[in-house]
């Protein structure tokens, strides 16, 4: 069987993978990208409403900067995030937006003077400053205290992906399309690349690489109703899990987006609410102010999704034969705005429901949307369990999202992590001790093992139907490991998933072709997906608190005394039916922003014993540095600049905006 060699093997051709490949290539390393589909079809294209970056060009962003973006992100994460990494992220996000501007993204730009908009259900006029004319515009999004989302109408991810993909073609980076990594090659300490299956002819080959990068996106397809594309099945995370050495972090942290189209789960962007859209119930009542008087429709996604489902439980949903839903009302935004800034929403409503969102209400319900967890890495994006294995983007747990991600932070993370981790990967490849010595017998051992797995599926006498098992898993994940969770139901879910996993070892195929055989791909993917699903369910069962998107009815409070930590799941032996769970503590004494109330959602939580002490330390430092600039104060609280690659350390320039109060 064939063996290919490269410096950097990137698994996944979305924004994160492509950007990291460009970084490595620019530093003189050969990079190859494997992609299930042509890269421009990756799920990055589905990011709609925008990318968070504190550019502060519009009046409603006045006063925004890295500090504000940092605090919003940490509060959004319900203090689950790694605060140093959040700092690296918010510092680099404006640079990423500006790089993309230079690479061709047609960002929506600021028009100076009066602009009509809708805020809190009312039409208002905002006057943009002359200094901002032609700079990148920002729109409002959930869980943020400033307008911070840079956008391209509502196809931001598409525009970003096309620009980055085009640049990767310019950089002559080869992409193996319709190629699927099915196993990592490793010796228990060091990752050496991957076994790859060509999805057109079914042949297996090996790629040996100094650095291997998992950039495979999320695991939404573990669920029945999800906004995610069909390729977001979590099998990339499973590659790491199946090594037995690399760990997955916080897999129980699953985001449910408040507004997906009912019943298909197609995403209706948060930009709808950011631009002034409202949620209404069966009576046409705008109910979010009843639950969240301050942030209303624009609280964080975990909070809005729970409030919506609570409202439905109170009998306020719209009943249909296919289930219940609520309404999203964007009619008040006007046709001109919808045609300009919510164009995909318009197209989706017309194509799938034959409705016109400029005059009709849109039926919506929360559905699975984002996987906060993923391959656990350090701040350099490298797995702590396997040298030479990196992970970026949604597939990773780097970890800027903690237990809830803010809208617009994920597509920002793809390019930011691509830039930062891309540099670290290049550094890694530069070092002499990163050179590898690998026996072809080891490569053949892995190739042989994967070939045997496929042979067993194709030639074996198994009797289980793979797509049926996958459906059972999706049903039970949606019903039992969803927005509201409790111990008894989760225990049942874990039990049933273990049975499904056992049955998946006895899958039989009706179509015994080894080539482009969709049933065969479903079979081996289902085996992997069940392991990842078990990490989600077992992690959720073990975590006896509520934090961010992980909500336990039987433990409704966030518990910083016991659970201020990150779940690490490994799969110790191939025959196991459960992951091994360990916990990585989050140290309050090192936090720039110690745990507190998020400003929305539940006010009740169990404090960490260190919080008061750390808060006092911070107050003392701030007092001592009274009069110093914000950079000095920040550096005294939690230095991070040294962690960034040298070429990404510049301060972000901003125009001097009049303060919002002064202008209005």
């Amino acid at each position: 069987m064939k063996i290919d060699y490269t410096d950097v093997l990137v698994i996944g051709g979305g924004l994160a993978g492509l950007r990291a490949a460009i970084a490595a290539k620019r530093r003189g390393h050969e990079a190859v990208v494997l992609s299930l589909v042509p890269p421009k079809r990756s799920h990055s294209a589905a990011a709609a409403g925008g990318m968070q970056a504190s550019l502060a060009n519009v009046i409603k962003a006045s006063g925004d900067n890295e500090d504000v973006h940092f605090a919003d992100t940490v509060r959004g994460s319900d203090w689950g995030a790694d605060q140093e990494v959040v700092r690296m992220f918010v510092d680099t996000a404006p640079k990423a937006a500006r790089e993309l501007a230079a690479w061709g993204v047609p960002w929506t730009r600021v028009q100076q003077g009066d602009n009509e908009t809708v805020i809190n259900g009312k039409k208002v006029v905002i006057s943009e400053s002359k200094e901002a004319q032609g700079l990148i515009a920002q729109r409002n999004f959930g869980g943020t205290s400033k307008w911070r989302c840079a956008y391209v109408s509502d196809s931001t991810g598409h525009a970003m992906l096309y620009a980055v993909s085009d640049q990767s073609i310019a950089a002559n980076i080869p992409v193996r399309e319709r190629a699927e990594a099915v196993a990592l090659i490793h010796d228990g300490d060091r990752c050496f690349g991957a076994v790859v299956r060509d999805l057109i002819n079914g042949e297996l080959y090996a790629y040996v690489a100094k650095a291997t990068v998992i950039a495979t996106g999320g695991a939404g397809r573990l669920y029945r109703t999800t906004s995610n594309a069909l390729i977001c099945d979590g099998t990339g995370a499973a590659l790491a899990l199946e090594t037995g050495h690399a760990a997955l972090g916080n897999m129980e942290a699953i985001q449910f987006h408040p507004t997906t189209l009912f019943p298909s789960g197609i995403l209706i962007t948060e930009g709808c609410r950011g631009d002034g859209g409202l949620l209404r119930d069966v009576n046409g009542h705008r109910f979010m102010p009843d639950y969240e008087p301050d942030k209303k429709e624009l609280a964080s996604r975990d909070v809005v999704s729970r409030d919506m489902l609570d409202h439905v439980k109170k009998g306020k949903g719209v009943k249909t034969r296919l289930g219940e839903h609520l309404w999203l009302d964007i009619t008040l935004l006007g046709r001109a705005h919808i045609e300009k800034s919510l164009r995909d929403v318009l197209e989706i409503c017309r194509s799938f429901l034959d409705i016109d969102p400029a005059k009709d209400l849109i039926p919506v319900m929360p559905a699975q949307h984002y996987t906060m967890g993923g391959v656990r890495t350090n701040y350099r994006g490298e797995s702590q369990g396997l040298k030479g294995l990196f992970a970026i983007g949604e597939a990773s747990c780097w970890d800027i999202h903690g237990f809830n991600r803010l809208g617009g932070n994920s597509v920002a993370e793809t390019v930011v992590a691509g830039m930062i981790v891309g540099e670290f990967i290049a550094d890694f490849c530069d070092r002499a001790d990163s050179d590898i010595t690998i026996a072809t017998s080891l490569v053949h051992e892995f190739l042989g093992r994967e070939q045997a797995r496929i042979d067993r599926l194709v030639d074996g006498r198994g009797s289980e139907d793979a797509s049926r098992l996958q459906q059972c898993m999706q049903e039970l994940m949606t019903d039992k490991v969803g927005v509201f969770r409790d111990g008894r139901t989760l225990a049942a879910a874990v039990e049933e998933l273990q049975q499904l996993l056992a049955r998946s070892r006895n899958i039989g195929l009706r179509n015994r072709s080894r080539g482009a055989n969709p049933e065969l791909a479903t079979a081996y993917r289902t085996q992997k997906m069940l392991k990842v699903a078990l990490c989600v369910a077992a992690g959720a069962l073990a975590r006896t608190e509520s934090r961010g998107a992980h909500h336990r009815d039987d433990f409704p409070r966030r518990d910083d005394a016991k659970w201020l930590n990150r779940t690490l799941a490994t799969w110790a032996n191939e025959d196991d039916t459960l992951p091994t769970l360990k916990y990585e503590p989050l140290d309050v004494m090192r936090m720039e922003l110690p745990p507190g109330w998020r400003g929305y959602g539940a006010k009740d939580f169990v404090p960490n014993p260190d919080t008061a002490r750390r808060s006092a330390d911070i107050e003392a430092t701030k007092k001592k540095l009274a009069g110093a600039d914000r950079f000095t104060v920040q550096a005294a609280l939690m230095p991070y600049e040294e962690l960034l690659p040298a070429r990404l350390r510049a301060r972000n320039e901003r125009i001097a905006l009049p303060s919002e109060g002064a202008s209005s």
Binding site: P38, P106, L267, D354, L648
Partner: protein
Amino acid sequence: MTKATEGSTHRQLTINVLRYDPHTPERPARMEAFQVEEAEGMTLFIALNEIRERLDPSLNFDFVCRAGICGSCGMLINGRPGLACRTLTKHLGPNINLAPLPAFELISDLSVNTGKWMRSMSERLQAWLHAREEEIDLGRLEERMDPVVAEKLYELDRCIECGCCIAGCGTAQMRKDFVGAVGLNKVGRFRLDPRDQRTDDDYFELIGDDDGVFGCMALLGCHDVCPKQLPLQTQIAFLRRKMLSNGMKSTTKAEGKK
């Protein structure tokens, strides 16, 4: 609820699929018929998946986003190129004919290799932004752009490379290197972009021949079938005029030199 559920008749649909796998040439190309009961809000995405799960696990087709934004599922739907994921069966008769997009390498059944075609086109047309500076100072303010220009760029940037324009193009069926509306739209997009340093002389080098803008026979099937309603007709006409005057100019120059 919505109009989508009104008037559901639960028709019996017959979906005829043109099947062929180049890896098993011993099985000739054939039409195969599948019976599916229509459901509320059924799309071809739902119908084809039901066929694969219930009737024939070997049926090949491509879907990724299933929301009309990724461009994976272009196919001939009753002879016309379109996105299958967002085609509602209720807009079609009870007999539906599906075939792979022509002009692309066939992978199997309804699956074609648009990715390979698009990458090759992008390389030939150098379809990426050619910025003035290689290295950008990332700490500095972004370059300003007229908001109206940005909107116009977005309009052309909406292409999803689904391949429908190529499948609907007369020239592309005959001339394998023809860059098609997708390629010409890209050139139009970068030509409009103030950040791209290329001139019409550069673009003439790329598309000033029969594989470029002069290969278009003005049948404009591309414009009719584009699922994103891109202004392809205007783009191609505009580019042809620009390239023609550029060609005339260079011819005059060349003659002047003699």
